[in-house]
C-alpha cells in the first residue's frame, strides 16, 4: 500500500507524492496564519522588530526551534523516523514560517522597498515565531485523521514511554505558553499592571494562576483533561505537573520580558511583577496546550482513561 503522511509531522518526508506535500503545505500555512494572525495585527510587534536587539530575536527563534523539535519528537517520533528526518521537518517548518511571515507582512504593507534590511528581518523573525508554532500544530493536531492512514491506529503504543510523556507535555506547555504570552508581551499593559500592582496582589495572582491551571487540566473535565494519570514518574502527579508547568510558564514569561527590553533600568520588583503578570497568560497557554495534547490527535493515549 502507499505510505501516506506520518502523524506529527508538518511535512511528508520520503515516499510522499507532490500532491500530498502540496496539501500539507497549504495546511501548514493556514495553521501558521491561524496562530500568527493576532501578532501580525499588533502594532508593537512591528515596532519591536526594529527596536529590539537583533540577538534577542535570534534567541527567541532558537527557543522556538527547540520547542518545535521537542513537539515534533513527542508527537511523531517513530521507529522508522530518524533524527535527521525530524530536523529536516523542523527546518522546513521554520523556513515556511519565515516565508509566510514575509509574504503576510508585505501584504499588509509593513515591509516594502523602503524598508531597511534589519527592520525587515527583525519583523519577519518575530512574526515567524507564532506562525511556526501554528505550522507544527497543523501538522500534529489539526490534520485530518484520514490523512494519517492506518498509522493513527497504533499511535498509543508508540509513545508509551512515560518519562517522555511527562517531559513532552512540558515542551507542549512551553510552546503554548510562548504562543499565548507573545500576544500580550510586546504591549505596554504588562508593564502598566506590574507597576500598579502591590506585592500581596502579585502573590494572589501567583496563587490564582496555579489554581486555574490545576483546575483546567485536572478538575474541570475539559476534553483532554486528566482525572487519573499513570503516575509512573514524579512529573505525572497533578500537583507536581501543575507546579513544574507553572515554572515553565514563568521561564517563558521571563524570556519575553527580557527580550522585549523590559528589564534594563528596571527595579527588581517591577521585573518580577512583570514576569508574574505575563505568567498568568503563559500559565493559561500551558494548561490549554496540555489539554490539546490529551484530547486526541497525535500524542494522546498517555493518561486519558
Amino acid at each position: 500500500m502507499t505510505r501516506r503522511r506520518r502523524p506529527g509531522r508538518a511535512f511528508t518526508g520520503p515516499g510522499a507524492s507532490a500532491a500530498t506535500t502540496a496539501r500539507q503545505l497549504v495546511r501548514g500555512m493556514a495553521g501558521g496564519l491561524l496562530l500568527g494572525m493576532p501578532p501580525l495585527f499588533t502594532m508593537e510587534m512591528w515596532f519591536q522588530g526594529f527596536l529590539m536587539a537583533p540577538l534577542k530575536i535570534v534567541v527567541l527563534i532558537v527557543f522556538t526551534f527547540l520547542i518545535v523539535i521537542g513537539y515534533g519528537a513527542f508527537c511523531g517520533f517513530r521507529r522508522e523516523r530518524t533524527w535527521p528526518d525530524l530536523i529536516i521537518d523542523c527546518v522546513q517548518t521554520m523556513g515556511l514560517a519565515a516565508l509566510v511571515a514575509a509574504f503576510a507582512l508585505w501584504l499588509i504593507g509593513r515591509i516594502g522597498p523602503g524598508t531597511g534590511l534589519l527592520e525587515a528581518m527583525g519583523k519577519i523573525g518575530l512574526q515567524m515565531i507564532p506562525i511556526s508554532l501554528g505550522i507544527s500544530l497543523a501538522g500534529a493536531q489539526l490534520a485530518d485523521p484520514e490523512d494519517q492512514g492506518d498509522e493513527a491506529a497504533d499511535l498509543g503504543t508508540e509513545f508509551s514511554t512515560p518519562e517522555f510523556g511527562a517531559f513532552g507535555r512540558l515542551f507542549v506547555a512551553a510552546g503554548a505558553a510562548l504562543f499565548l504570552s507573545l500576544n500580550v508581551a510586546p504591549t505596554e499593559e504588562t508593564l502598566f499592571l506590574a507597576v500598579g500592582g502591590s506585592w500581596w496582589l502579585m502573590v494572589l495572582v501567583v496563587a490564582a494562576s496555579l489554581l486555574m491551571s490545576y483546575a483546567i487540566v485536572f478538575y474541570a473535565d475539559f476534553r483532554g483533561g486528566r482525572r487519573r494519570t499513570r503516575r509512573d514518574t514524579l512529573l505525572d502527579y497533578p500537583l507536581t505537573e501543575t507546579v513544574v508547568a507553572y515554572g515553565v510558564s514563568l521561564l517563558v514569561s521571563a524570556l519575553l520580558v527580557w527580550s522585549f527590553g523590559r528589564t534594563a533600568g528596571t527595579p527588581p520588583y517591577t521585573i518580577v511583577a512583570q514576569i508574574v503578570v505575563l505568567g498568568v497568560v503563559a500559565a493559561f497557554g500551558a494548561a490549554a496546550g496540555r489539554l490539546l495534547l490529551g484530547s486526541g490527535g497525535a500524542g494522546g493515549g498517555n493518561g486519558k482513561p
Binding site: 520520503p14 503545505l25 526594529f50 537583533p54 540577538l55 527546518v91 519565515a98 514575509a102 528581518m121 523573525g125
Partner: protein
C-alpha cells in the same frame, strides 16, 4: 531508500535560504558595529511640491543612515515665504535604521528661496 519528491526539495531549499537570510542579518547586525547612533536625514522633493487651498506642500523622505532606530524624530524646515521666515514641523514616530519614511512639510505659500531642514530632537 525512498526519495523525497521535488516539491519537498524546493520547500527545503527555500526554507534554508529564508532561515539563513533572517538569522544571518540578525546575527550580523547583532554582533556588528553599533558605533553609529541614529543619523536621521531628510531629502526634499521640490519637484513634487504642490499647492493646496491651505498652503504649499513639500514632500520629503526621512531616512535613518545610522545603525540604531530612533523614535519621535522631529524635523523643522525653515524657509523665507513672502519675505518672512516660516517654520514647518514634522514628527516621525518611528524611524528604523536604514529605512525610509515619507513625510511632507507645509508652508503658507511657495518659499522664495531654499528650504533648510534641521533635527529638533528624537528618542534614541
Amino acid at each position: 531508500m525512498e526519495s523525497r519528491n521535488r516539491l519537498e526539495w524546493i520547500v527545503l531549499a527555500a526554507s534554508l535560504v529564508a532561515i539563513a537570510a533572517v538569522l544571518g542579518v540578525l546575527v550580523w547586525e547583532g554582533f556588528g558595529d553599533h558605533g553609529r547612533p541614529p543619523l536621521p536625514t531628510v531629502a526634499l522633493h521640490r519637484a513634487r511640491a504642490y499647492a493646496t487651498a491651505a498652503g504649499w506642500v513639500l514632500p520629503a523622505t526621512a531616512t535613518n543612515k545610522g545603525d540604531r532606530s530612533a523614535q519621535a524624530v522631529t524635523f523643522i524646515a525653515t524657509a523665507r515665504v513672502r519675505g518672512r521666515e516660516e517654520e514647518a514641523t514634522v514628527t516621525v514616530d518611528y524611524l528604523p535604521a536604514g529605512s525610509d519614511v515619507e513625510v511632507a512639510f507645509g508652508f503658507s505659500a511657495e518659499p522664495d528661496g531654499e528650504v533648510r531642514v534641521r533635527i529638533a530632537g528624537f528618542l534614541p
